[in-house]
């Protein structure tokens, strides 16, 4: 049981790592979602910006997340832009998952019946209001399971940031296991904490499903 008492003694390190992970995750998914929606809006009309967004989204899909984090943390300083590890990690999460949010919503946008959009145009909606009030809500309701999946992937991607020295949950576990050589216990704690966040996410998504079910989008 001495291993567990070591873990208990290191609880502050775990707790602080857990908070960092939660903060990074919470902040990044909110910003990534907003970015994803903004990029989707730019795709509504064919413009130079929309071409750029398509390239960015496809670029992100071809890139492993860790490479992007490396690029931002180790690569950008050579261009004269030095980000601290936490900021680089946050930006990486936002851009990467923002691109995936765009892609998920875009798929659903392609099959959204044109009639809803035409009805809104006929009623005098300007493009931005049409997008915010008529298009986006439907896409979000329809893609809820995919968006939820992406959130869990984003959560797990925060663990990569340990490699660029962000002091998040995995980094905390790694430091405890390296100091006391108790890998099993240290990582079990971390797994439980990641699970905890995932389970909360699942509950929120389940709850959100009722919103769609009530409107006939899915069967509750």
């Amino acid at each position: 049981m001495t291993e567990w008492s070591i873990i208990w003694d290191a609880r502050e390190a775990f707790f602080s790592g857990f908070l960092t992970t939660l903060t990074l995750f919470g902040l990044s998914i909110v910003c990534a979602f907003v970015l994803g929606c903004a990029m989707l809006y730019s795709l509504e009309e064919r413009t130079p910006l929309s071409t750029l967004v398509r390239w960015l989204v496809n670029g992100m899909r071809m890139l492993p997340f860790l490479i992007l984090a490396y690029l931002l943390y180790y690569g950008l300083p050579r261009l004269g832009l030095r980000l601290d590890a936490w900021t680089a990690g946050l930006v990486a999460l936002i851009v990467y998952h923002g691109a995936y949010f765009t892609e998920i919503l875009r798929g659903s946008r392609l099959v959204l019946p044109a009639g809803y959009v035409e009805a809104a145009k006929a009623h005098g909606f300007t493009p931005l209001r049409l997008f915010m009030r008529i298009i986006l809500p439907q896409l979000v309701i329809k893609t809820r399971p995919l968006l939820g999946n992406q959130l869990i992937i984003a959560l797990k991607d925060t663990a990569f940031l340990t490699i660029i020295t962000v002091q998040e949950l995995t980094a905390a576990a790694n430091s405890v296991q390296a100091t006391y050589f108790i890998p099993t216990e240290a990582f079990v704690v971390v797994i439980v904490l990641y699970w905890l966040i995932s389970i909360c996410l699942e509950l929120v998504l389940k709850w959100a499903a009722r919103f769609g079910a009530k409107r006939g989008f899915e069967h509750g």
Binding site: Y116, R215, G216
Partner: protein, 253 residues
């Protein structure tokens, strides 16, 4: 001096790739008039209607809504911006064959949405108007339901209330009863008859001959993208000018 017509279409032409769908359409619809547009499938009826609110962009010709040119900013000599187009579209209403109620919004929210979002009407006022209009189309008790729970006829009546909430200068009906089962057609036509009695200006693309005969001030017949007959319903149905219309009427009654 005569009133400015609610809709004036001049020299309207439209092609899809190299197929000419509309040719030199001329039509004037005065305030309070009901115009029925008849013709077989593919004759260009819906395209003509969709040009009026610029859901389709015409190749040639001009369309005026209560005196204002749609699609082209005449003063600036260029196409309208999205914002200008939205503003003039807000003065027209359109009822679709497929209803197109917004599925994520309740019946009441569907009717409130455009007044609040487009006109910037305060929510309380929009709500009061929406409730009144839903009562008027006989959907008052369904206001908290979502569209997917409604029958086709109910959806179409909500769609009509949604259009009325914007107090449009003209309402365009694009085959409003074609997707309904026969038992539900009557409830929608009744609402439309009441609207015409109240003095709404309406352009109705339809296959409902009885409705066209009873309610219209003008009947327009399209054939291969051209208006080949335009007359008062009494004349149109009892003594049509062209062989084509005679044949059409024979086959559809």
């Amino acid at each position: 001096m005569a009133d400015i017509p609610a809709v004036r279409i001049q020299n309207l032409s439209k092609s899809f790739s190299d197929i000419e769908v509309l040719r030199d359409i001329e039509l004037t619809v005065n305030k309070g008039e009901v115009v029925s547009v008849l013709g077989s499938s593919g004759s260009g009826k819906s395209t003509m209607l969709r040009c009026i609110n610029w859901l389709e962009e015409p190749d040639r010709g001009s369309i005026y809504i209560a005196g204002e040119r749609i699609g082209i900013n005449e003063e600036a000599g260029r196409k309208m911006t999205n914002r200008e187009l939205a503003a003039i579209r807000a003065r027209t209403g359109m009822v679709f064959q497929g209803f197109n109620l917004w599925p994520h919004l309740s019946v009441l929210q569907n009717v409130m949405e455009a007044p609040v979002q487009v006109k910037g009407m305060p929510k309380e006022q929009a709500r009061a108007i929406a409730i009144e209009l839903l009562e008027k189309v006989g959907m008052g008790d369904k206001r908290d339901s979502y569209p997917y729970t409604l029958s086709g006829g109910q959806k179409q009546r909500v769609a009509i209330a949604r259009v009325l909430a914007m107090s449009p200068e003209v309402i365009l009906f694009d085959e409003p009863t074609s997707a309904l089962d026969p038992e539900r057609v009557g409830e929608v036509l009744t609402v439309m008859k009441n609207l015409s009695a109240e003095g709404y200006t309406m352009i109705v693309v339809t296959h409902e001959m009885e409705f066209a005969r009873a309610v219209s001030d003008q009947v327009v017949f399209l054939e291969k993208g051209k208006i080949i007959e335009k007359s008062a319903p009494e004349k149109f149905f009892s003594n049509p000018e062209t062989q084509r219309v005679r044949k059409f009427l024979e086959l559809s009654t």
